[in-house]
């Protein structure tokens, strides 16, 4: 990490660099998961790490997600800081019990005596033409659970720093990686002093309506804002970055200005993040809102086969349609 502190790199590479830095800086940091070693993970996010840090730090585990998270908890109790990889979103569920009943609650159960600084990395979301279980967005199923923190970067720079902060956090963090953005390049400044992990960021200012998103949908919302601008509409775009906690203050500040809000995520709308955001922002901004908070997301259906995912996922037109509807109030 020398003089040249800003590099252009893909999001996956930014996480790789971030993990490398963490392994280097703290001997207690471990990488665990299926195929994270020689293969470097199916997305190469852990590429080269085992070679440089050895099998004791970068651990290929048996094929058992509950075991991965459960032993990571034990390692954390021993003073380690495991960064665990779940190979794909749809394979986190065998570990759900350990995450929900143990990882999330042990700090409280021990009245604060033990801390579990475990990061669970989950490549998530669709848009890559994959088979079943490889395109899901299960963040709501974790956000409802107290004791967990949920974040999702949208770009390479955030991916680098948010991973640093997640590893440094003494709380368990579920780190949702937008897999369809893995190959998107962005600036990473490894010396920048980052803002707080759980604060949203205004990625585009606007006056007519606020679009909020996180992870893979931020880029889409920026495209929507561009398209809307061509039609003379000024949209503000917020990258939430964190799903638990949600930065309601930032959303509120934006909505008090724009008076209209559309929430976009890939996860199904029903019981999704949009519901929580809509409910709370409506309560906070009841007299400011000119239109109900509208939500664009997945349908109440299993993630469809790849040839239908474009219809299932929020796309430019569907978000613009929601924007139009909100503006029509």
């Amino acid at each position: 990490m020398a003089a040249e502190t800003t590099k252009n790199m893909a999001l996956a590479k930014a996480i790789n660099e971030s993990l490398r830095h963490a392994l280097d800086a703290d001997p207690k940091v471990l990488i665990m998961g299926e195929d994270v070693g020689k293969l470097g993970g199916v997305f190469r996010v852990t590429d080269g790490l085992q070679k440089d840090f050895g099998e004791s730090r970068v651990i290929d585990t048996p094929l058992a997600e509950s075991g991965i998270v459960g032993t990571a908890i034990g390692l954390a109790l021993r003073g380690y800081r495991p960064v665990v990889e779940i190979q794909f979103d749809g394979f986190v569920f065998p570990a759900y019990d350990q995450i929900v009943t143990q990882l999330a609650k042990m700090h409280a159960r021990s009245l604060g005596k033990v801390k579990l600084p475990v990061v669970v990395r989950i490549p998530y979301g669709g848009g890559i033409g994959a088979v079943e279980h490889h395109s899901e967005s299960p963040e709501s199923l974790f956000a409802h659970v107290a004791g967990l923190k949920i974040v999702s970067p949208s770009n390479a720079g955030d991916a680098y720093w948010m991973m640093q902060q997640a590893i440094q956090s003494d709380d368990p963090v579920i780190f949702f990686e937008p897999k369809r953005r893995y190959w998107d390049k962005g600036e990473v400044n490894t010396e920048a002093i980052p803002g707080p992990l759980h604060k949203a960021r205004v990625v585009r200012e606007g006056t007519d309506l606020t679009l909020v998103a996180y992870g893979p949908m931020v880029k889409l919302c920026q495209e929507v804002a561009n398209a809307a601008a061509e039609e003379g509409r000024s949209l503000e775009v917020l990258d939430l970055r964190s799903v638990s906690p949600l930065d309601f203050d930032a959303i509120q500040a934006s909505v008090e200005k724009t008076r209209r809000l559309v929430v976009v995520h890939e996860a199904p709308v029903f019981f999704g993040s949009g519901a929580e955001i809509a409910a709370r922002i409506t309560e906070r901004c009841f007299y400011h809102l000119e239109a109900p908070v509208l939500r664009v997301g997945g349908y109440h259906a299993p993630y469809p086969p790849a040839r239908l995912e474009d219809e299932y996922l929020p796309g430019l037109d569907r978000v613009l349609d929601a924007v139009d509807r909100a503006l029509a109030y």
Partner: protein
């Protein structure tokens, strides 16, 4: 908390701490290579006697032997076609069974029609034995559906992608057979990697406690993506069963006769009320994990070459030829049939239409759900809005 310094004591020996020997391993020795599997046909195609298992194949006819050969050849042909269709962009992904034909055809041909199969995602050979049209297997890999056949049409369940889950479904199904007083059996396929999943262990427990008529057929193809079997177990996998109170046996999974015989034995146990059996078919994944995988990152060529010498198809051909059970005409005809199959599959895949958009909302529920209805209607209106605009 007692965290002692690393320097203070000598590290204990452990898989987790041994040094990494370069990027590619060569001639990796499996921890269990010394456990000789049941073998009836040597790689050279010689029939070896086996007091216990011979009786299950003693009455096999030359025609049946040619049938097994044909099954393996056509399966391999189909598999190769699918791999190439993936390369051409017609499929999104393919999980090749290359090298595992004998394990699959041997076990698949041991089944009766009324038996039920719970596969993973790689049992194209078993699907073939069950009469599932190969092109139906391709729908999910093309991305037009998540499972393109009627499981009850051929008593062949849908492919299960979440590792190990299906072993419990198989066990439950087998419990149902018992309740029905039927004498059919169930076979559950899974891999060496899957053996680590809690669900597989629970299926062992349930099937033992309820004495369910199920055969657990583990294809140990030495790899779970990039992880060798040592990452899942330190003893041979077939031994796992004994701790649950039922027998486990290792069979040469590249020997179609042995795979047939051992599976028949296990199925007979199931039918006659003796409960579950674990069969470990010792074989090798000759290709990549899937078309997305690059095995050169984690394994060397020596290993694959060693296994090539044990090819399942070659050894049966040698036997057929040596015993005069098949002539040139047979092989030539089969070659033509293979080509025809390849062509049929190619054409079928290319002709496979994309699903209707409204399929998203179909079959979410059997009895309907108000929200699905509402979202379907909204979707229809939204789609129609483009039609109106003439887009």
């Amino acid at each position: 908390m007692t965290v002692e310094s690393t320097a203070a004591r000598k590290p204990r020996r452990s898989a987790g701490t041994k040094s990494t020997a370069g990027k590619r391993t060569t001639a990796r020795k499996s921890p269990d290579a010394e456990h000789e599997p049941v073998q009836l046909l040597t790689p050279e195609g010689e029939r070896v006697k086996n007091a216990e298992y011979d009786k299950y194949v003693d009455d096999i006819t030359p025609e049946e032997l040619r049938g097994l050969y044909r099954d393996m050849v056509l399966t391999r042909r189909f598999d190769a076609e699918a791999t190439s269709l993936q390369r051409q962009g017609e499929l999104g992904l393919w999980a090749s069974l290359l090298g595992q034909e004998a394990a699959q055809i041997g076990s698949g041909r041991a089944l009766r029609d009324d038996d039920y199969v719970f596969p993973t995602y790689r049992e194209h050979g078993v699907a073939w034995c069950r009469g599932v049209d190969p092109t139906n297997l391709l729908g999910m890999f093309r991305g037009v559906n998540n499972g393109g056949w009627d499981p009850n049409g051929n008593n062949f369940h849908l492919y299960t992608i979440v590792i190990g889950s299906q072993t419990l479904h198989a066990t439950g199904y087998a419990m149902g057979i018992t309740k029905d007083g039927a004498d059919s059996a169930v076979i559950a396929y899974f891999g060496d990697g899957a053996s680590s999943q809690g669900d597989v262990a629970e299926s062992f427990t349930f099937s033992a406690v309820y004495n369910a008529p199920v055969v657990f057929f583990c294809q140990n193809n030495q790899w779970a993506i990039s992880e060798p079997t040592e990452k899942q177990t330190r003893v041979p996998l077939y031994q796992r069963a004994q701790g649950y109170g039922f027998p486990g046996v290792r069979v040469d999974g590249n020997d179609v006769l042995a795979s047939l015989a051992v599976t028949k034995w296990a199925l007979e146990r199931a039918r006659s009320g003796e409960g579950p059996t674990l069969v470990e078919a010792y074989t090798y994944r000759m290709g990549a994990h899937t078309t997305s995988d690059d095995p050169s990152r984690y394994r060397g060529d020596e290993e694959r070459l060693a296994w090539e010498a044990k090819d399942p198809i070659l050894r049966l051909r040698r036997f057929l030829e040596a015993s005069n059970h098949a002539d040139e005409g047979f092989f030539a005809e089969l070659e033509a049939e293979s080509e025809a199959l390849g062509k049929r599959v190619r054409e079928a895949v290319r002709a496979m239409p994309d699903p209707d958009h409204f399929a998203i909302f179909e079959n979410v529920y059997a009895d309907g759900h108000a929200l699905v209805d509402e979202e379907r209607a909204q979707f229809a209106a939204y789609q129609a809005s483009f039609a109106d605009e003439g887009v």
